[in-house]
């Protein structure tokens, strides 16, 4: 009932002016702000991290001013479609499921993924994927909701107990307090966790799972764009190509991840 009244008002409001959801010359970027080292936001809303660097570089190329909007990860896609921002830059992988909802730029990076366990866990020394898969059955695996990692575990380890969390922080807190046996995320986020004092007893499991190994993990990181914004997508792809050539992406990647995950244009 409320929605009906509001939509009526909205239809009337349409006559009062177009939706100027971004000031002229501005690119509004949606990002999570709680996923180090991709996207971190402090209490005042200032965003830093790999995604922020990529975003700022793209804005510069497009000659637009950057403005970041912080938003929970699994709400990014609906919010993009609701025109709350123009693009998504938030460590988001290109997947078939997501491509049903939105478009993506070309991939600008690709990430390996790993499990993290306690040092005394029997999984710690596992070196091959099949043993890992067998050992994981029945264990409590933590993932972030709406991520490719959640989809991957759900598909490949159906007899494990999947625990989803809204934020990385919640997952890591439960891992260190012993509510989880292991967590699965991309290697950079895991390394960021392992650098914290509470992670002293934890380590990476040696089995590296590449995005290429499974469709659920996606085809690399992409900038999310609405389906009807073909022109913007072209410009962004061009900008990414240029940045790749100039080595800007490589510099940013090495700054945050200590390794180069950037991809050149095909």
């Amino acid at each position: 009932m409320k929605l009906k009244l509001l939509s009526l008002a909205a239809v009337l409001a349409c006559g009062l002016g177009p939706v100027a959801h971004a000031a002229e010359g501005e690119l509004v970027i949606g990002t999570e702000g709680a996923y180090p080292p991709f996207s971190m936001a402090d209490a005042n809303g200032n965003v830093t991290g790999f995604d922020a660097d990529v975003g700022n570089a793209v804005c510069e190329k497009l000659q637009l001013k950057c403005r970041f909007v912080v938003q929970a990860f699994d709400g990014l896609i609906p919010a993009l479609n609701a025109k709350r921002f123009d693009v998504i830059i938030s460590g988001m992988s290109i997947t078939d499921e997501r491509q049903k909802q939105i478009d993506f730029s070309n991939s600008y990076g690709e990430f390996p993924n790993q499990f993290v366990v306690k040092k005394e866990s029997e999984l710690a020394g596992v070196k091959d994927f099949d043993t890992l898969k067998k050992d994981l059955s029945g264990l409590r695996i933590g993932v972030q909701s709406g991520t490719t990692h959640a989809a991957y575990v759900e598909k490949n380890m159906p007899d494990a107990q999947l625990m989803t969390y809204d934020t990385l922080d919640q997952m890591q807190i439960d891992l260190s307090s012993g509510r989880l046996d292991t967590s699965f995320a991309d290697t950079s986020a895991q390394n960021d966790f392992l650098a914290k004092p509470e992670a002293a007893d934890f380590q990476l499991v040696g089995v590296v799972i590449d995005s290429a190994s499974d469709a659920t993990l996606g085809k690399g990181l992409g900038i999310g764009i609405r389906k009807d914004e073909g022109e913007l997508k072209e410009r962004i792809n061009q900008a990414l190509c240029d940045l790749g050539e100039e080595g800007t992406l490589k510099t940013a990647s090495e700054k945050w991840f200590k390794l180069d995950i950037s991809q050149k244009c095909k």
Binding site: D74, K100, G146, A150, M163, T164, Y165, I173, G178, R179
Partner: protein, 227 residues
């Protein structure tokens, strides 16, 4: 109309119904007993007991359930002495047990107010007659006060039961896979927001409707004969 999606949504979200009902019924059972104890403490003459009951009620009714839930799950889980203690960890370690405990403590506060209202509303004449007849305190409570209080409190308590069912949805924020938890996870995968949340809403409406009908039946049974 995407029948595949609807079918998937109904079966997935339906998996959570059992968990929702378990959460609600166990919390209500524990909460009722606690609430009854608190109500008795409240109407007792003892200053210490009634004061404790009053503060307990004020604290649990004056703060959001979400805050209580997170305080128990994340807050208490932070301390080593809790993690190392097997009994305490059994309670707050797992999402399900922790949610039941938080819900039970919360509903106990509201229940105590409802039952207190019921106990107070008993006409003084009945109590005096029972005393004159020589009934002991315990017998008086069991045969006169308690049944009358329950009958008086039933409509309000039925309301509280519906609120507890709604409260179980908050367990989804601490990894419990009840109705809302399944709905949210499914939504993250398919982004079919409206369909999924509508189906989840229908599940809750059906459960609450059944509950309200049952309460009305009991109300009728209690008030009609013997008037």
């Amino acid at each position: 109309m995407d029948w595949d999606l609807l079918h998937r949504a109904v079966t997935t979200i339906g998996k959570g119904v059992g968990t929702t009902l378990t959460l609600a019924s166990v919390s209500l059972a524990i909460g009722f007993c606690l609430g009854l104890g608190l109500a008795v403490m409240r109407v007792s003459g003892n200053r210490l007991m009634s004061g404790f009951a009053e503060y307990y009620s004020a604290v649990f009714r004056g703060t959001p359930l979400l805050v209580q839930l997170f305080l128990f799950y994340y807050g208490l889980g932070q301390f080593d002495f809790v993690r190392d203690n097997p009994v305490l960890w059994w309670v707050i370690g797992g999402g399900m047990h922790c949610a039941i405990m938080a819900l039970a403590l919360n509903t106990a506060a509201y229940t105590s107010e409802i039952l207190r209202g019921g106990l107070i509303s008993i006409p003084a004449g009945l109590i005096e007659a029972a005393k004159a007849a020589g009934m002991s305190r315990a017998l008086r409570f069991r045969r006169i006060e308690f049944p009358l209080a329950i009958r008086q409190a039933l409509p309000a308590y039925g309301n509280e039961m519906v609120l507890v069912i709604k409260g179980t949805s908050l367990a989804s924020t601490i990894t419990v896979l009840e109705i809302t938890g399944h709905a949210k996870r499914l939504m993250s995968q398919t982004y079919a927001i409206f369909e999924i949340f509508t189906i989840a809403g229908i599940f809750y409406l059906l459960i609450n409707a059944a509950l309200i009908l049952a309460i009305r039946r009991i109300e009728n049974r209690l008030t009609s004969p013997g008037r």
